[in-house]
């Protein structure tokens, strides 16, 4: 199969046959002056249209609303409407520029092709695919690329490698002490190039650099992100399951918003859905083992490996068909693939991927 033949068109048929979301695929061009989005939770007004690079973003009437630019992002329960493009009715002041736009001669122009979101007077255009932009508090999975003086550089699928400082990690054994010079020299003993870490975004610097932290309970947050805070514990787990774990890279925009990033799936795997698009799959470790620091080099059974492989292929096929990735969708795809009796390696074939994706979407809609 040539790479440039896609099965995208079939997806439209699937969606249109679904009856649970009426009016979603209203693709007619409408002249609307005011748009009301039926959303229970948010009283902000969203204009969710697609615009292409270079196009003028028309300025709709200003409406009162709540919410910040971040909240007014994608997903949620509102319906996308298509609106025809008109010249701007009002000239927007510079403070109303959002990401994905720029001002030219007093007119706001889109610089990416994507969804237009308007909250209050802020107009943002979010492209469908983007490198990970970063949001404070996100859990991300990253790979160490460099070990520097007192920090590690982590590749988090962003436009710059993020920083993980020695002072921001929990030292092994759960000790609470200041990092000394010896610790700096021993950084490689903790984390070296190529290691995977599951960390939290602490801060976003002005130039877009992400600062990461691997502490738990720092701000009194309940660590519902199991094992995320303790780096050492995580490392132990990692060593244990090194031979059966896998990392899948998908576009960050496909990862569903979720408070909890680490999930223990019923099939016997723990999946960390990094907000940056890196998804880490590992076999579930029994709780007793995890609390101790004993390194267990047991042979990982074939079934466990198959599970991991299947999960990984399911993730890949969901990403390929641009289906949002969440524990539900992954489990549905997993179950569907077992139901349809596909071998793990069959899931790599494009037609099989399509079948499983369709079936998964259908069962999710029920």
């Amino acid at each position: 199969m040539t790479p440039y033949q896609q099965g995208n068109k079939s997806q439209v048929t699937v969606s249109s046959s679904s009856s649970s979301h009426p009016g979603v695929w209203l693709v007619a061009e409408l002249e609307v002056s005011e748009l009301v989005c039926a959303s229970v939770r948010r009283i902000a007004l969203h204009v969710n249209t697609a615009t292409t690079t270079g196009k003028l973003i028309f300025g709709a009437k200003r409406e009162a609303g709540l919410g910040t630019g971040e909240e007014g992002g994608k997903c949620g329960a509102y319906r996308p409407w298509w609106v025809c493009k008109r010249p701007p009715t009002s000239v927007l002041s510079p403070q109303e520029r959002g990401h994905g736009t720029y001002m030219e001669k007093g007119v706001q122009v889109a610089s990416v092709a994507g969804c237009v979101t308007r909250v209050n007077r802020l107009i943002t255009v979010t492209p469908l695919r983007q490198v990970y932009q970063g949001a404070v508090g996100d859990t991300v999975v990253g790979r160490i690329t460099r070990v520097q003086n007192n920090r590690w550089k982590v590749d988090v699928n962003s436009r710059l490698d993020a920083e993980l400082r020695l002072s921001n990690i929990q030292l092994p054994g759960g000790e609470q002490r200041r990092c000394s010079v010896e610790d700096e020299r021993d950084m490689r003993a903790l984390l070296t190039e190529g290691d995977l870490v599951c960390v939290e975004v602490q801060k976003i610097c002005d130039d877009g650099l992400l600062r990461l932290a691997a502490r738990s309970n720092k701000f009194g947050k309940v660590s519902d992100l199991h094992g995320q805070g303790s780096l050492a514990r995580y490392i132990t787990q990692q060593i244990q399951c090194l031979t059966a774990s896998t990392l899948v890279a998908v576009s960050p925009s496909l990862i569903a918003q979720d408070k909890q990033r680490m999930h223990d799936l019923p099939c016997g795997a723990r999946v960390v859905f990094g907000a940056n698009g890196y998804v880490y799959i590992t076999p579930t470790v029994p709780q007793e083992q995890a609390s101790t620091y004993i390194v267990n080099f047991e042979e990982v059974p074939v079934e466990v490996r198959k599970t991991i492989g299947r999960l990984r292929n399911c993730l890949k096929l969901l990403a390929h068909h641009s289906i949002m990735i969440s524990p539900t969708s992954v489990m549905t795809a997993y179950d569907t693939s077992i139901e349809l009796e596909f071998e793990v390696r069959d899931l790599l074939k494009l037609d099989v991927m399509q079948d499983v994706a369709l079936a998964a979407v259908q069962s999710m809609n029920k």
């Binding site: 790479p3 440039y4 896609q6 995208n8 068109k9 997806q11 439209v12 969606s15 979301h21 979603v24 695929w25 693709v27 969710n48 697609a50 292409t52 690079t53 270079g54 196009k55 994608k74 997903c75 996308p80 298509w82 994905g100 720029y102 122009v109 610089s111 990416v112 092709a113 994507g114 969804c115 492209p127 469908l128 695919r129 983007q130 490198v131 690329t145 550089k153 590749d155 962003s158 436009r159 710059l160 490698d161 130039d207 877009g208 890279a249 998908v250 576009s251 925009s253 496909l254 569903a256 890949k316 990403a319 390929h320 068909h321 641009s322 289906i323 949002m324 969440s326 969708s329 999710m364």
Partner: protein, 240 residues
């Protein structure tokens, strides 16, 4: 053999101001941040964009804006004669040109300290190779979500005796000149102008004008494809 027959048609049956069939696709590959494929008649080009990402060599890092690099390569079977080296001086010069075009079009100040790599692969070359490469790269950049000032569209034009002809094939360009114009269609400004073989000064105006008209036509096709792609993807993603 005349480029334009007495009936006013070209070798492939087109009128002098007619573009070849264009088809393009966004998002072929998962691995690169952005990918695209374009077919302009028999010219087929694949483009992949990696970035913006951390610079590979610190010596090239620019802390004010991003670094843009382009590498163009041709497969051995892209032309009638076997191409000896996929990357030679010619492709390096064209790569520089493509990178130059996107230096103007990408909003570089948005990505300080980062690097954007554009990889272009020519699968089949039948005239208008540079413009196909630029069009494919533009689509790939849009797919990657890189901020651009505007679309970048490119087209070739030539002149045959006194008739300007649009979108020349390899055969047509051998006998005459080949002018490649890249522009930002919504702004109307030119980002690249290139002329191979001899052209008379007086004819330059009409050839460039024709090429710019061709660019606008190509823009329509490209933006249509991008909008279709957006609709499809947006529909699926916000469905969840």
């Amino acid at each position: 053999m005349d480029v334009i027959s007495p009936e006013g048609l070209r070798q492939d049956g087109r009128t002098p101001t007619c573009l070849r069939d264009i088809s393009c696709r966004l998002g072929l590959y998962d691995r690169p941040n952005g990918s695209a494929y374009i077919e302009i008649g028999n010219t087929k080009v694949l483009a992949a964009v990696y970035g913006p990402r951390e610079v590979r060599s610190l010596s090239k890092q620019n802390l004010d804006e991003c670094v843009i690099q382009c590498e163009m390569s041709r497969i051995a079977a892209c032309q009638g004669e076997r191409v000896r080296r996929p990357r030679d001086q010619r492709t390096r010069a064209l790569s520089l040109q493509i990178a130059g075009v996107f230096h103007a079009a990408i909003r570089k100040t948005k990505y300080p300290g980062s690097q954007i790599d554009i990889y272009v692969q020519v699968l089949q070359a039948d005239g208008g190779v540079t413009s196909a490469c630029i069009n494919a790269s533009a689509l790939a950049l849009i797919h990657a979500g890189v901020e651009l000032m505007d679309y970048v569209v490119s087209c070739t034009a030539s002149i045959n005796k006194t008739t300007p002809i649009l979108d020349v094939t390899q055969q047509e360009s051998v006998t005459g000149c080949e002018v490649t114009v890249s522009m930002l269609p919504n702004k109307g400004s030119v980002v690249s102008l290139d002329c191979a073989h001899t052209l008379h000064l007086d004819q330059l105006d009409e050839v460039v004008d024709l090429a710019m008209e061709g660019c606008q036509q190509i823009y329509k096709v490209m933006s249509q494809e991008v909008e279709t792609y957006l609709q499809d993807k947006n529909a699926v993603m916000s469905h969840q």
